[in-house]
């Protein structure tokens, strides 16, 4: 944690310097802090061992093509899965799969992104990047769950919603917004699990629920690291730096209360042992569903809203009426 104190101190010094530029003399204060900073730096072990793994290594792990995908998890966690197709309006989007499943003897509705494992399948699945009709198909499945009181399990693994002309023409933003909104109103328990890449609005479009779980080496980010690098660092190849800056891994997300639990992965990662990974996830989903089913529906919806209402970090400030 020394690192953090150093960063903090450095920021304060910078801030004081700005004040100085405004004509206020704070040099004594600054000097004091700089001395403190020096001491802190000297106290640090020469090569500090990172407590959390490197963010970019995690990104690579989360994208490992041998990782279990949604249909793998379904096969390993569910007793039967009956896939449903189509949004009943335009098309069937294979980048999202939805269906009825038997989970521990109970019927659930599963929705999730689906990547392909080879070129042919990836073309069909569009690398797990959904079009609006994928989200609309998912909404149809969510409404089916609601009609019959089936709990929902949502498995998230997408680089992003597809950035293409057709997606824009059919209002991909609107489809995602609609799903997020409807998931807040859905009158059945919802458990989310980020299993691989949780990319941007494309992930969140299936991502509102009563519990949000995350696999140990999964990532979840507001924009893919390459996108962040291209915009903020003006260089898409700086994705590793962007990933580190955005902090896309499970420990940070747990600390920020964006997720509720980290699901451990076996050995080197989920790709080395699909069975154990799925068993770990299954155990957690089972446990959470059991807890959720005891909560009265109105309270459940209230808690779901409150959970997301609490997300965000800002400072409470002192209010003044005049500008200086």
């Amino acid at each position: 944690m020394s690192d953090k104190r150093i960063v903090e101190l450095e920021r304060k010094i910078r801030e004081l310097r700005t004040f100085s530029e405004d004509g206020i003399d704070l040099s004594a204060e600054i000097e004091k802090l700089e001395a403190k900073l020096q001491t802190l730096k000297e106290q640090l072990p020469p090569v500090p061992a990172p407590t959390t793994p490197d963010e970019w290594d995690q990104v690579k792990l989360a994208r490992n093509p041998k990782r279990p995908y949604t249909l793998d998890f379904i096969r390993l966690m569910m007793d039967d899965f009956y896939e449903l197709h189509g949004d009943q309006m335009y098309a069937d989007d294979a980048a999202i799969v939805v269906g009825l499943a038997l989970f521990e003897g109970e019927t659930v509705v599963v929705v999730g992104h689906q990547k392909g494992r080879d070129v042919t399948e990836n073309i069909r699945r569009n690398f797990g990047m959904a079009h609006p009709e994928g989200y609309r198909k998912a909404l149809r499945a969510l409404k089916l769950a609601e009609r019959f009181g089936f709990p929902v399990i949502s498995l998230i693994d997408t680089p992003a919603a597809y950035p293409g002309t057709g997606a824009e023409e059919r209002n991909i933003g609107g489809a995602i917004a609609q799903n997020i909104y409807e998931m807040f109103k859905l009158r059945v328990p919802i458990v989310i699990a980020i299993t691989g890449e949780g990319g941007s609005g494309g992930a969140l479009g299936l991502g509102v629920g009563d519990r949000v779980l995350m696999l140990e080496h999964a990532i979840y980010s507001v924009i893919p690291p390459e996108g962040c690098a291209a915009i903020l660092f003006r260089d898409a190849s700086k994705a590793p730096e962007a990933a580190r800056a955005m902090k896309v891994t499970a420990p940070t997300l747990l600390e920020l209360k964006v997720i509720d639990e980290i699901i451990p992965e076996p050995g080197e990662g989920a790709h080395t042992d699909h069975e154990t990974t799925a068993a770990n996830l299954k155990e957690a989903i089972r446990r959470h569903l059991k807890a959720l089913e005891r909560i009265p529906l109105e309270k459940l919806l209230e808690q779901r809203a409150k959970k997301f209402q609490a997300m965000g970090v800002f400072e409470e400030l002192e209010e003044t009426h005049a500008r200086e």
């Binding site: 293409g164 609005g201 809203a305 997300m311 800002f314």
Partner: protein, 304 residues
């Protein structure tokens, strides 16, 4: 160390905002003519010679929409934090960027929320300012929007959102993504209270805001010249490896593809909002309870 405690300034439309610029004339970038600045300002920031729309700051937008003297800033006194210790390429820390934006705009944050009268109808207004780090949505905007919707629901006043934003604030990482969900969870309050929500999309309304709160209005309007879409042009062009049609993600595009109810000229916006509000004037004396309220009120006794 009270000296580090940042202060929060609420917006007053009587005070000048931003850096004052002393020149009286400006050159229109569209027609190249020299135009008198005061004339431009009086003309809703539209070039009096050629009709080009110049950029509107949030205070200008509010001034354009509300009855003079009726605006009251209701924002919460909160400021951006930097939970990720984020620094961009140049090593500029996030909070420095925020501070710079505050200085340049004279605003405390990227969105202004307030109460006002619009042609004598009392409303809650939320207006984004694109100058403030691209009007991007981070934790502060999310909280201010939820607060505004809470007040609108509690006081049963129509809620009007004017978006001008590039999307999520990447510097807050995942928390900025979560603001999409946070604001949508608050949108329920409006529905439950039977309070109308009019969303106005201006140039630009993109990314995470277009894929959340801006896209779930009861009525959705686009200002002429708006840019409306989820993914950025550049990203799409790189993905599909084709040049995009000229009208891609324009106001016309959004209208033709059925995303927005109407495209409005800036000068007609105030009148149009006022006209829409008339239809909702009877909300509080409506005989039939709005749907959502009924659902929220029910249920409790129907658990097994």
């Amino acid at each position: 160390m009270a000296i580090f405690k940042r202060k929060y300034f609420k917006l007053s439309l009587d005070q000048p905002t931003g850096k004052d610029d002393e020149t009286l004339w400006m050159k229109c970038k569209a027609c190249g003519e020299l135009v008198f600045k005061k004339r431009v300002r009086e003309n809703n920031n539209i070039c009096p010679k050629c009709g080009e729309y110049f950029f509107l700051t949030a205070p200008e937008r509010i001034q354009m929409l509300v009855d003079p003297g009726t605006f009251e800033d209701i924002s919460k006194p909160i400021g951006a934090a930097d939970p990720l210790d984020f620094a961009d390429q140049g090593g500029v820390p996030y909070l420095d960027k925020v501070k710079k934006a505050q200085e340049e705009t004279g605003l405390s944050n990227e969105i202004i929320v307030g109460k006002a009268s619009l042609n004598e109808v009392s409303v809650i207004l939320a207006v984004m300012d694109f100058r403030f780090i691209g009007g991007s949505m981070g934790s502060v905007m999310g909280e201010q929007l939820c607060h505004a919707m809470r007040v609108a629901a509690d006081e049963r006043r129509p809620f009007i959102l004017v978006s001008s934003t590039g999307g999520a604030r990447m510097q807050e990482g995942i928390l900025s993504l979560m603001q999409m969900a946070k604001t949508l969870s608050a949108r329920q309050w409006l529905e439950a209270a039977g309070v109308p929500f009019i969303s106005v999309m201006t140039y630009p309304t993109t990314g995470g805001v277009q894929a959340s709160i801006a896209n779930v209005g009861d009525i959705t309007l686009a200002e002429k010249g708006a840019l409306i879409g989820f993914a950025g042009r550049r990203v799409i062009q790189q993905t599909i490896k084709q040049t995009l049609p000229e009208d891609f993600q324009t106001d016309k595009f959004a209208y033709e593809h059925g995303f927005v109810d109407r495209v409005l000229k800036r000068e007609g916006l105030r009148q149009e909002l006022s006209r829409i509000l008339r239809f909702f004037a009877g909300i509080s004396r409506q005989r039939r309870e709005p749907m959502a309220l009924r659902i929220l009120n029910s249920g409790r006794s129907h658990e097994r």
